[in-house]
Amino acid sequence: ASVLLFQAKSCICHMCGAHLNRLHSCLYCVFFGCFTKKHIHEHAKTKRHNLAIDLLYGGIYCFMCQDYIYDKDMEQIAKEEQRKAWKLQAFTPTMVSHYQCTMTGIGEKYSTWEPTKRELELLRHNPKRRKITTNCTIGLRGLINLGNTCFMNCIVQALTHTPLLRDFFLSDRHKCEMQSPSSCLVCEMSTLFQEFYSGHRSPHIPYRLLHLVWTHARHLAGYEQQDAHEFLIAALDVLHRHCKGDDNGKKANNPNHCNCIIDQIFTGGLQSDVTCQVCHGVSTTIDPFWDISLDLPGSSTPFWPLSPGSDGSVVNGESHVSGTTTLTDCLRRFTRPEHLGSSAKIKCSGCHSYQESTKQLTMKKLPIVACFHLKRFEHSAKLRRKITTYVSFPLELDMTPFMASSKESRMNGQYQQPTDSLNNDNKYSLFAVVNHQGTLESGHYTSFIRQHKDQWFKCDDAIITKASIKDVLDSEGYLLFYHKQFLEYE
């Protein structure tokens, strides 16, 4: 505030005291003068100070040339100062879209791209340009299996086809923060994207990626088959840490305030409401999540009934056909109120004693990319087995019924919105599916990924084949990746 005060009092013409009239500052001494009234001209003539700067736009005026001049070095300085000033400004424009914030970094001023000399040189030496047509297969590439590494290959396929992640890396947005860039997983991802979009049709050998994963996620090292879901979470964690230059997890990372690309795309908020059965007081916590793990029928925990008094309402265009479990069924079960039982009493701050309670999970904040993990691998004390129950999942998913806000309006007696309501913010489209074939002991991972709007491809390590939508929707489904349909302005 004191800076503004100083500016208010001192940014006036030294001759007439006006603050308008295109105020200029002498570049030789401390003098401000009007341009329109020629006060700065007088100063220039009498003192022979021939250079002045326009206080509004930063243009440099030369009194000998009698015009504004453009000097490369001054332009560089001006650009740098403008950038710094923008960051300090308390005022931020309201129309900066979420997409723009993701691409430029929060609060950075949008400036049109101007190629540097080096970039112009590169463009001239490489005149070949790629045209993206509807049938081109750029971005598709097989991955060699390095010894039971299909669990990693599937996740790589899903990540390289996540549109926002692709845009981030292909526009060179990663600035390495790691002490040694050769151990940075984010740099390796960047290289991976370059490989995938290079146009090469031969399969890529991800040996460096594998080595980095082994180094940073020790529990995944070794040549045995690992869990693709575990790999996804470990990979996201390492990427998130490396974005901040945190090599060994020592720095305290507050997941609620991280702005890295991983958090911007994958982090959602899960609300947990614990209601005391005696005083009906509600205790709410919100935890960040990168994926939603869903129980399936056939596991040792009972699946049906979904919730006390649940109706067979039509959600997401699927009516419950008895026999077929749907993704929506799993989500309804996930967000049902659960009675915690007499052996798990919670200390109620309203009653000041231990009481029985119900707990309910709902979505507080949806991530841009939602990953659903169907818990097919059961590792209980008694048995280890794979649940192969078919779960049908849709191409388009509306998360509105599972939102914390929807639960609130239901509780307030408000009419439940029809599913094709105006709320576009909760609509998702499927873009990748990871499948597991076989048993717990010996199995194989493959994935389906979406290219352009309606083309799907099956990725089986080094072999990429065209797939139909039916192939995708008929598959068992282990990891389901959905992408928000509309990116809203903040």
Partner: protein, 95 residues
């Protein structure tokens, strides 16, 4: 000159509170929205073509487009900004 003094005081207050910057941004956005910026840009290009790129100075352009620029500002924009300034003055009645 009492008028000029009042102007200076108001201006100071606008800068101190950061309101001047906000008003500038608002005006900038409005003038782009209604196409004013594009109109003047086109006019600039015409002037340069007429006078020749080698002979025209910034001063020439300023002299040419200032009257046109002032005239082309839509009344609605003027009204809105005036309203904002009035509200601001009402809030800082100590002036």
């Amino acid at each position: 000159n009492k008028d000029a003094q009042m102007r200076a005081t108001i201006n100071q207050k606008l800068i101190e509170t950061g309101e001047r910057e906000r008003l500038k941004e608002l005006l900038r956005a409005k003038l782009i929205e209604c196409g004013w910026k594009d109109q003047l840009k086109a006019h600039c290009k015409d002037v340069i073509k007429e006078k020749g790129l080698e002979h025209v100075t910034v001063d020439d352009l300023v002299a040419e487009i200032t009257p046109k620029g002032r005239a082309l500002v839509p009344d609605s924009v003027k009204k809105e900004l005036l309203q904002r300034i009035r509200t601001f003055l009402a809030q800082h009645a100590s002036l």
